[in-house]
Every structure is written in structure tokens, then in C-alpha cells.
């Protein structure tokens, strides 16, 4: 599973194009893969941010948050993953529903992109709200602009677009016009905040959850999330779920369980590591 192209989208965010013909042939918006860098590596879930069936490639966008993602982002074209398993998960249903608002927080733009692209191509009116902490962390802006009728950009520090969180333009759009569906993808607090607004305004909302996974095939049960009071396996039942039903507090807690060990591994790893070019920025 060779890397055929790499570019840096933002500090610590890398885009890799990976040769994976069998996965590219099957990929649908909403699918993800589980990768393993080498024989000692963890199994890491990553969204298929784009795919090219003709070229037999899939695109991954990876943010460095710990040891595994740091090692992946330090890879260069010509190098290969030990394993890439996929496509996994349930594809996102692409239908003509009317008006769709896609909200992306930070890296959430990566999983949002293939969905809004397909929804746009399916003839929906698409509004995208793209947010990040600061200007240089905005990713896929031009790509998203090309597949939306309206693109609203917001940064937490006001360094680009609107000053503030994505929830502000979200509320404005929902109060301005009739919206049939909201897709919100990003950090858990951001998805939670979006759902608080859409619940109040009673708009169908889909979120994509990033539970901690091991196998990604429904075998370990480690990725369980509570949706509508029921336990679901994020990897096979999701990763997209009805956001108005998700127990976000539990999801946040579960994501944090290994933090101490992860920090230890990350710090040990950073000693004497070259790292990715983008880290310099």
C-alpha cells in the first residue's frame, strides 16, 4: 500500500494519496480505513477523504495528535503502510433531500468533503460552514467551495472569515432558511454544540463519531457509543449517527481513557524524531 503523493495542508496536517485499488473500487462517502504503519504500530482509523477509482488510489488526511499519526505524517512517497484495511463502516446515504448544511470543525473537513461532494452532485443545495482555530489550520477550503453553493468560513481568533465558532453562522443559516439536513463533523465539543442548536430548531443532524477503535470490524466492541439510549458499535453501525441522539459526554470520556499512556508514547517518540516537514511551520 504505497504512498504515491503527499502534501502538507496545514501545520501538522498532511494529505496522502495511497495506492489501494481494491479499496478505491469500493469506497463510498462515509467509509474509512484502518491502517497499520509497521509491525509494532497501532491500528489507526482514518476517513477516506477522497478516492479515484481509475487511478486505484484513496486520499487520507491526517492530523498529528500522537505517536502513530506523527509517524504516519513523517512518511514520504514511495514508502508503504504495512496494512490498509477497508473500506469500513456504513456508507453515508446520498439522496436528494433539498438543502443540506455541512459544518466542519478543523480536521472534520476531511470526512465532510466526500459527503458534501456527493450530495452536491446529487443535486442538493449545499451550504458549507468551515471552521478552524486560526487561518492556517483551515483545510480543503477551495475543494469545499467547488462543491457548495455557499461557503462560510469562521476562525476562532478571527484571522480569516468570521470571528468566532461555527455555531454562530450555523444558527444564522438555520434561522434564515429551511434546511433539510445538517452534517456536523469535527471535535466532539463542536459536534455537541451544533446538535444543541439543531435540536432546539428541530433539524435532522448527522454527525460522524471518532470512537477509539481496535479492529474496525465489529469484533472488539471497543468503539461502542450510546445513541438513543442504545449501545452501538461505531465501526459497523456508523461512524455516522443521528447527532440528536448521541451521548457526547460519554464519547468524550471514552476518548480520553488512554491519554496518559498516549502522552508517554508521544513524548518518548518525539525525542530524536525528524518528523514531518509541516511541523516546522
Amino acid at each position: 500500500m504505497e504512498i504515491v503523493a503527499k502534501d502538507c495542508l496545514a501545520p501538522r496536517i498532511v494529505r496522502l494519496v495511497v495506492k489501494a485499488p481494491r479499496i478505491a473500487a469500493k469506497a463510498q462517502p462515509g467509509h474509512f480505513v484502518v491502517v497499520r504503519l509497521n509491525d509494532r504500530a497501532e491500528r489507526i482509523p482514518l476517513t477516506i477523504a477522497d478516492f479515484d477509482r481509475a487511478a486505484g488510489t484513496i486520499t487520507l488526511i491526517i492530523q498529528e495528535v500522537g505517536k502513530s499519526t506523527a509517524m504516519i505524517n513523517a512518511m514520504e512517497p514511495g514508502q508503504s503502510f504495512a496494512d490498509v484495511l477497508g473500506p469500513l463502516g456504513t456508507p453515508y446515504p446520498i439522496e436528494k433531500v433539498g438543502t443540506v448544511v455541512g459544518v466542519a470543525g478543523g480536521l472534520g473537513a476531511a470526512p465532510l468533503y466526500p459527503k458534501v461532494k456527493a450530495l452536491y452532485e446529487a443535486g442538493n443545495r449545499v451550504i458549507v460552514i468551515l471552521g478552524a482555530q486560526r487561518r492556517e489550520l483551515l483545510i480543503l477550503m477551495e475543494e469545499l467551495r467547488a462543491v457548495s453553493h455557499e461557503l462560510i468560513v469562521a476562525t476562532d481568533d478571527g484571522s480569516y472569515g468570521e470571528h468566532g465558532l461555527v455555531t454562530v453562522p450555523l444558527r444564522r443559516v438555520l434561522e434564515r432558511e429551511k434546511v433539510d439536513e445538517v452534517i456536523a463533523i469535527g471535535p466532539v465539543p463542536m459536534m455537541d454544540a451544533c446538535c444543541r442548536i439543531t435540536r432546539e430548531l428541530n433539524v435532522k443532524t448527522v454527525v460522524s463519531l471518532n470512537a477509539v477503535m481496535v479492529d474496525g470490524t465489529g469484533m472488539c466492541g471497543g468503539c461502542r457509543v450510546t445513541v438513543g439510549g442504545q449501545s452501538k458499535f461505531c465501526c459497523v453501525d456508523g461512524p455516522a449517527f443521528d447527532g440528536l441522539q448521541v451521548d457526547f459526554a460519554e464519547l468524550r470520556q471514552r476518548q480520553r481513557y488512554y491519554n496518559a499512556q498516549e502522552r508517554e508514547a508521544y513524548q518518548a517518540h518525539q525525542h530524536g524524531m525528524e518528523g514531518c516537514r509541516c511541523r516546522a511551520k
Partner: protein, 462 residues
């Protein structure tokens, strides 16, 4: 002469390392044990073996000083002898039927099988018999004992065989479930290597149903398919607090430790976190494995919480004994009702209720009944749920036309193992529900025989 007793690592020591518990017979012990075999005319032991290993024949070869010949004899019927010698429940199969069992001391068939397999593996080469190539391609889905056995048998018949496995290593439960100290992964690797030497192709990280589907495999020119995907869906208790941090399914816990080598974190990247006090819910082999693994990860107190009494514990007797020797604490007639967490959402205590045994239920075992008002709590840092598993839905939901039974497993003809899709066969845990390694292997064998017949009949000219 009494039955030879296999040496084991000292309990105090072994409960802190991942080295193999049972050390295997010495050559002298193996010779002494082989000498006990009566080489009976009526081969009761063979009848007790689900894959019909020619037990007296291999024992006689061993006795005659030909362990390599003995190994070859076993491999005529069993492609995974070093594994079976370690994890088969011999006490309820071949050894139970052995004529000497009447006097209480059957031949240690499992121990001898293990000895022979390990001996043969140390001698380079092995016994790979190239078969006359036939013009048939078979796809095997799942590299557990069922799939590996079907693959080996088909390859021996001259089929062109490809195994598709969703994990990154072959072996199924042997790889991700059964711990290193009972079944070293080097042994699993070695037996998988043997199957590859037979010409079987292995493609890991392919999830059939997602990466490729059953109908697509048929279209791609595989004339016949065997599904051996196992029972890999963990069941949970459905009690409050089950999604707290520190609550694992046995599958997740064992996968982290065995497949991902979390016991060697941070040398390996996958972490596991259990704390000092661990409760394992359940009483089968899986529960014993999880409990003993917890101990080896450094837990100070490990409890088996089981709702019936000692008599009903479904685990192998030997493993219960091993667990006790190592200091696992058994809380019998005890059933969890709630898991309690702290402000961080991490497990803090387990609340249980005492049980008593009432009337026998449909399984013939006495039904456990809760004693009202007997709830009590005890502090734990993690809870491992090992109460069984069901069929993994991924392949099933993406294979139209595949008939399932009322329990959600694949419906396969008990004689032919044929499914509702022509050319597609299934066996092992995905048909029977969680069973044993050897039962899965038996199914793989049976299916392979039928798959050969099917192809020869359906495609007489290839």
C-alpha cells in the same frame, strides 16, 4: 506405569510472565507415555477425535523411535497438531474414549501430539507433499482453524487456494484470543507457514463483505468458497455503567494484548489499561484467559464473577486449576447488576447480587436465581466481560441470498456444510456458535471434502 505428568512453570513465577505455562514432555517422558499405549484393535480413541487422527499409529511410530514419521502420520489428518496438542479439550474427546480411561489414566494423547509436532517443527523441511494440480480455485474466508484446515486440505487435493483474512495476521482466535502463555504465537505462525508451504495464498487485511463480496469472488473465478468467519461479535451484559472506561469485552482486551502485543507497550504501540483490581465476568475458557492475562499484566487481585457454581464452570478443568494455582479469586453464584464509575467516567466498583441454583433449565443445568436484597459492591479498576459471542454481521449483511438460522448463524447442511448459495460452504463457529478449535477444524475438513466433490461434479472439465 502411571500416566506422565507434563512439567509446568511454577505458579508464582508464571503468573508474572507470558511464557508458556505447560512446558511439554521431555523425550524420556514421551517415550514412557508412548510405551503405555495398548495399540488397541478397536480404536476408541480415534472415534473420540473430531478429525480422526490415527492416534495409535502415530503413537506406535513414536514408540519405534520415529517422531518424524509420527508427525507425518498426524498431519495426514490434522494440519495444526502443535495447536491441537495445546488447546484441544482432550479430556472430553480422545482421552475420554481411551480404553485406559476406564481405570482413570488414559494415554496423554494431547501431550504426545504436542511433543511430536514440536519435534517435527524443529527438524527443518517438514513434510510438504506436492499434489497434482487441479484446475480449481477455492476462496477461503477467515483464517481461523476452520478456514486454515479447509485451505490445507484443498491444497493437498491440488486446488489453487486463497485465504482472505480481515485481520493483519492469520489464526483467528488462535492469534487474537488465546493468550501467549497457553499458545505461543510463534507456534501459530509456524503452522500458518506450513499451510503456505502447501501453496495456499494468504491475503490479510481483506474484509469480505466490504473489501470484496462473496458474489464478486464467485464472479472472479473462484468456483467454490468456504466461509469460516467465526463468532466474533462480543456480547455485553446490558447493565448500567457498561460503557464506562475500563469496561472491556474479552475480545477487545485479548486482542489488545495478544494480537497487538499491548503487554509489551511501549515497545509496541497499542496500550491496555486495567489497574490493580480486575473483575472478569463469565466462567468459560475466555474468562479464564482474560483473568490470567490480567494477572500477568500486573493486576494485584483478579476475580472471576460467575453466576452459577463451580460445578457448572464451562472452562476446561485444567485451565480452572491453572487459574486457581495462580491466585485468581472465584466469586461464584454472583451476578453483576451495575458498574459504578467515578467523576472521570472510569470504573470504580462492581455491584453484584448473590445467586442460588433453582430448577434445571433447558440446558439441563440448574438455573441461577437472584437472592432478593443480597446486592453488594466491591472496588475494581476494570471489568472484562466474557459472557459469549455471536455472529459478526459484516459478511452476513452484505451477502444477499445467504440463509441464516434463527440464532443468526449461517444455515449450513449438517452433512455437506453447503449453504443456500451454490458452491458456497460454511463451517466452524459461524455455523455452530462458539465451540472448539478441533470442532472448527473438523468442519473445515468436512467442507473441503465436499468442495472437491462439488467442483469435480460441476466442472468436470475444469
Amino acid at each position: 506405569m502411571p500416566r506422565q505428568v507434563m512439567p509446568k512453570q511454577d505458579p508464582a513465577e508464571r503468573s508474572r510472565n507470558f511464557g508458556e505455562v505447560a512446558l511439554g514432555f521431555t523425550p524420556e517422558q514421551a517415550a514412557a507415555e508412548a510405551a503405555r499405549c495398548l495399540n488397541c484393535k478397536k480404536r476408541f480413541c480415534v472415534q473420540g477425535c473430531p478429525v480422526e487422527v490415527d492416534i495409535p499409529d502415530f503413537i506406535q511410530l513414536l514408540k519405534a523411535g520415529d517422531p518424524a514419521g509420527a508427525a507425518a502420520k498426524i498431519k495426514e489428518k490434522n494440519s495444526l497438531p502443535a495447536i491441537c496438542g495445546r488447546v484441544c479439550p482432550q479430556e472430553s474427546q480422545c482421552e475420554k474414549e481411551c480404553i485406559l480411561a476406564k481405570k482413570g489414566e488414559p494415554i496423554a494423547i494431547g501431550g504426545l501430539e504436542r511433543f511430536v509436532a514440536d519435534y517435527a517443527a524443529e527438524q527443518a523441511g517438514g513434510t510438504v507433499r506436492p499434489a497434482k494440480a487441479l484446475p480449481y480455485r477455492a476462496a477461503i474466508i477467515g483464517a481461523g482453524p476452520a478456514g486454515l484446515t479447509a485451505a490445507a486440505d484443498l491444497a493437498l487435493q491440488g486446488f489453487d487456494v486463497t485465504i482472505f483474512e480481515s485481520l493483519h495476521e492469520a489464526g483467528g482466535v488462535l492469534q487474537y484470543g488465546i493468550p501467549q502463555f497457553r499458545l505461543p504465537k510463534e507456534i501459530v505462525g509456524r503452522e500458518v507457514e506450513y499451510i503456505k508451504q502447501l501453496g495456499v495464498k494468504l491475503e490479510t487485511s481483506v474484509l469480505v463483505g466490504q473489501t470484496v463480496t462473496v458474489p464478486e469472488l464467485l464472479e472472479q473465478g473462484f468456483q467454490t468458497i468456504f466461509i469460516g468467519t467465526g463468532a466474533g461479535l462480543p456480547y455485553f451484559l446490558n447493565v448500567p455503567g457498561e460503557n464506562l472506561n475500563g469496561v472491556y469485552s474479552a475480545n477487545e482486551f485479548l486482542t489488545r494484548v495478544n494480537l497487538m502485543k499491548a503487554y509489551r507497550f511501549p515497545e509496541y504501540d497499542t496500550p491496555v489499561r486495567i489497574g490493580e483490581r480486575v473483575a472478569v465476568v463469565g466462567g468459560g475458557n475466555v474468562a479464564m484467559d482474560a483473568a490470567r492475562t490480567s494477572l500477568r499484566l500486573g493486576a494485584k487481585a483478579v476475580y472471576i464473577v460467575y453466576r452459577r457454581s463451580e460445578e457448572e464452570l464451562p472452562a476446561r478443568y485444567e485451565e480452572i486449576e491453572n487459574a486457581k494455582e495462580e491466585g485468581i479469586i472465584f466469586r461464584l453464584l454472583t451476578n453483576p447488576v451495575r458498574i459504578i464509575g467515578d467523576e472521570q467516567g472510569v470504573v470504580q466498583a462492581l455491584e453484584c447480587i448473590r445467586m442460588e441454583l433453582g430448577e434445571p433449565d433447558r440446558s439441563g443445568r440448574r438455573r441461577p436465581v437472584a437472592v432478593p436484597g443480597s446486592e453488594f459492591q466491591f472496588p475494581v479498576d476494570s471489568v472484562i466481560v466474557a459472557i459469549g459471542q455471536g455472529p459478526n454481521p459484516v459478511l452476513l449483511r452484505n451477502t444477499t441470498g445467504l440463509q441464516l438460522n434463527e440464532r443468526g448463524y449461517i444455515q449450513a447442511d449438517p452433512e455437506t456444510l453447503a449453504t443456500s448459495i451454490p458452491g458456497v460452504f460454511a463451517g466452524g463457529d459461524i455455523v455452530t456458535g462458539a465451540a472448539t478449535v478441533i470442532a472448527a477444524m473438523g468442519a473445515g475438513k468436512k467442507a473441503a471434502r465436499r468442495m472437491v466433490e462439488y467442483c469435480k461434479q460441476k466442472y468436470p472439465n475444469g
